[in-house]
Amino acid sequence: MMTKTSLGVLMLLSLYGQSLRGQSEYPSPEALLLRNRPQKTVVEIGVRETAGDTGVAKFSEYRDLGRTFIRDLNFNSELPISGHYFRLRSRENSENDLQSLATGGLFGRYKITASWNRLFHAVSTSGRDFFVRTGPGKFLLPSGIQALQGAPLQNLFLKRDSVGLGISLTPSEAWDLRLQYSPERRTGSRPGGNNFAFTVIELPEPLQYRTDDLKLSAEVAKPKWTIQGSSQTLSFHNDVKGLEWTSSFPVNDRLVPASGRKALPADNAAQSFMISGAVDLARSARIVATVSPGWMHQNEAFLPFTISPAIQGQSNYPALPAPGLNGNKQTLMMNYLLTGRVKKQFSYSARYRSYRLDNQTPSLLFSNYVAYDSSLPVSTQAAPRSRRNLPYGYTRQNANLDWIWAPSKTASARWFYQWESWDRTYRDAKRSNEHTAGASWDWMNQDGWGVQALLQYSLRRPERYDPMYFNASFPAGPGLFALGQLSGLRRFDEAERSRNYGTVSLQAPPIKSIQFSAGYIVDRSFFHQSSYGALYDVSDGVSCDVSYPVRPSVSLFADYTFERLRYSLRSRQRLDASPAEPFNDSSNNDWESNIRDLVHTWGAGVNAGFFRNRVVLDAYYGFSQGDNATTTASLGNPAAAGFLVSTAEDYPRLGNRFQRLTTSLKFPVTRSISYRVEYVYERYAEKDLALERVVALPGFTNVGAANAGFLGMTLPRYHVNILSISLFYVF
């Protein structure tokens, strides 16, 4: 029991202490920095040895492993008195694979950042190319070459070099100003298909892109309100405007001309502004609003209809309706959000969002267009050859209402309603509305029990779906002999759809330190009014995660995820009419395809630290396995007259497997030097009928009645061992 005397002494001490605190000065920033050293500077350099199929493109898909490397460079420097600092972080530096970020400035006042990243993306190392390049994007076939044998190997890869420069200023507590400039250069080539009607030639499409991104932003933030404004300018430039190639096939009919040309991505530019504001109102209410107008522009000069001088010389060769598209899309994004609290336990939020893409691109009429660089057909009523581009646009609107009840500190329930509307131009469904209602429950107590659940149901309905709209809007029409659109088709992105979506996850409290969590997700979309096209799109999956801390610094963990995706579509084999025979559009030629993907992902490992985490062991094994099955069947009677569906068959099962075993051990030698030894085993296997056929039929080949020439990329399959030893130096 406390006596009256001791209580009095304590009160006096309290008053004395309070008076002392009142007189004490708050430590200056410089004093704080002097007392607290900056983070240590670390350098990790090493050597690496690889064995196995390292030449396979899949292995180098997004990396370029050099024999020597700087795995990590983390340099920190501070001037405590002035408050200036400089930091440099860099990792995995090799010729084609580097990432660096430097920041510097004055704490709380300004910051300058500079980054340099290089991304290497190998596409193929096994393709062979028999063309001779006569200029950027120009491919000439030497006479007499019709097979891949002897053709040089052609590595296909992309490389992105991006630089970022940024300055941010904080002149006062309220103001924040930023400037960011990021140019990027993309070079390399990727496989691209080219064709004359049904003859195919695959070529390495050159990429010589440059993009620039300049962003300016300013913000004023006061305790009760905030205003942000920004401007962003983007541009894209392609050095190669078109791809030209000579025909590799005998020029024996009008569909196989001597040469062809296609347009490569055109230069474009975009500009956007954004202004956002937020204000705090009474009763914890807050309003946030954003308005962001933008423009996208493209006016690259059109290439001629054809590269063929013979066709260009014809008297009825059409003139281009304009020298360029002068394409212009205007976007406007608006977002308004109101959040607040009614009582302590109840809160709400209401949001309205709109994104409008107003396509103001001119609609041009191209008469007598030349489809395949081959001939100049004359437009007739039976076979119209005029086409008009359609400026597609849309407006997407969303409104959400959320009502949240938090009965305790650890639990909350939410009920919500969402409305989404699409207004489209030049599409089958001019307008559709989707209504979603749902609820969620989130609870987690201090013992570690937790349940999170979400369930929602959506129904999307187009106000009027006109499957024939495309024909009507395409000015020249499909022609007398063409069937036009199948009336029962409903495109999945516009069709009526009911959707069930739900997730539930459970977290159990540690049992003898073992932590366990599991989750289930289901997403089921059904297109009830679609007789043809996508019928349903269903996926579900489970995941679980367990960890067992054997000791505070030793932890075992494992996880497993399974996902199943199923799609179904129905179609009809249709035969256009010809002058010789009528069309065949019988429902007896309907066919249906069911596609199923199963994906399993396992992982298990250990993280362990010994001797106060100076020795660290990290091991992990991960395995991902994906399988695809596509079954297809005719729905008609083969015995009936006019039955066409003779090619409905199940495809061979496809699949891929990726395994990775990693073991890493870091141990100290001296106080500032540590070694790290790492062993990685990777294995990737794929079964893909699409590429197997290419392997079986490399180069120019004759499949059926038509010719095809491919680069001959082989299956991306590899297994590789990687051993690396690196040295940490801590300054």
Binding site: L32, E219, F236, I595, G609, G622, T663
Partner: protein, 320 residues
């Protein structure tokens, strides 16, 4: 998906037994304290050095952070400096040692925690935090960020690499590990054969998403899904002379952004992907045998290679 809460960060021993009694007396005389540290008010600053006497580890962690480095430079009012910037006035707590008399992040409601952080951070990327999907699911700042706890020193070997980022006081060593605490399905999808370079450390979740809330659905950084994709794929921005409407509207009509077992992040393989919509006549309506050249290699894109849009006057079928 489960959210791992931070464990209690500290315990505060009572300096003297009488302090509790005194603090109760003082607490009774003073206005009732709320959970919100803003409501506590600050009259006399308790310096970080004061807190250091009992909370050495927490002080050290704070002193290593950017919080300590901008302390007194940017925010100069007493309530926004030192430990009191986050924990509210520490005067009563110092006098009494009673942990109930100072704002603590553990055991408090998500709203109270975020109120403490948003005093300074309700700006920039956090403008849309209130009302965001994460906030409405009871997620709060300390589920992803921590100041006083160093993440476990994993060597990055077993998990995803991450490109160099500025330190964000994350509860895990990398930002992706923070996201994967709950988003296990996305974590698994990144392991698939067709994926964006996240597991190689060239991209992170936050390159496309702003987890603090945005004006766009799915917490996307840009104004629409397509504008998000155009940041890296600017050649597909257009406008094109011949546009493919589902492409111009939503890249995700055909692509699975987080990973797929099909090439080029496609949801389905061609030709089935295309045959969901193209039943107009001719070869797109045939089921096609597996040995047909329309199936292998690039599938439909063997010929229709400009499927994202063409600017060629003869490119109406996206083959020029």
């Amino acid at each position: 998906m489960p959210v791992r809460r931070q464990r209690p960060m500290c315990g505060c021993p009572l300096p003297i037994r009488g302090g509790l009694f005194l603090s109760l007396l003082l607490a009774g005389a003073w206005p009732l304290r709320g959970e919100d540290p803003q409501a506590i008010g600050t009259t006399v600053a308790v310096t970080p050095e004061t807190c250091r006497r009992c909370h050495r580890d927490h002080y050290d962690a704070w002193a290593r952070s950017t919080h300590a480095r901008i302390d007194g430079r940017l925010y100069k009012s007493p309530g926004k400096q030192g430990c009191e910037a986050c924990h509210g006035s520490g005067e009563d707590h110092v006098q009494s040692g009673n942990r109930a008399l100072i704002f603590r992040f553990t055991g408090n409601s998500p709203e109270a925690v975020e109120n403490a952080c948003l005093k300074c951070h309700q700006r920039g990327n956090r403008l849309y935090w209130r009302g965001s999907p994460h906030e409405s699911r009871n997620i709060t700042c300390t589920n992803c960020h921590t100041l006083h706890k160093q993440p476990y020193p994993v060597l990055h070997a077993s998990r995803f690499l991450e490109k160099p980022l500025e330190t964000r006081l994350l509860a895990k060593q990398t930002s992706m590990e923070v996201c994967f605490q709950c988003h296990l399905m996305q974590k698994a999808q990144l392991q698939r054969s067709s994926h964006m370079p996240l597991r190689e450390g060239k991209l992170t979740c936050v390159d496309c998403h702003n987890p603090h809330g945005t004006a766009t659905p799915k917490l996307l950084r840009e104004n629409s899904i397509n504008e998000n994709c155009y940041r890296c794929h600017a050649e597909k921005r257009g406008p094109f002379l011949w546009e493919h409407p589902p492409v111009a509207e939503n890249c995700l009509n055909c692509h699975q952004a987080h990973g797929s077992i099909h090439e080029k992040l496609l949801k389905l393989r061609t030709p089935r992907l295309c045959q969901q919509c193209h039943v107009r006549g001719g070869h797109p309506t045939l089921p096609q045998v597996a040995s047909n050249r329309l199936i292998y290699n690039l599938g439909c894109a063997n010929c229709h290679s400009q499927i994202h849009g063409s600017n060629h006057p003869s490119g109406v079928r996206f083959h020029r």
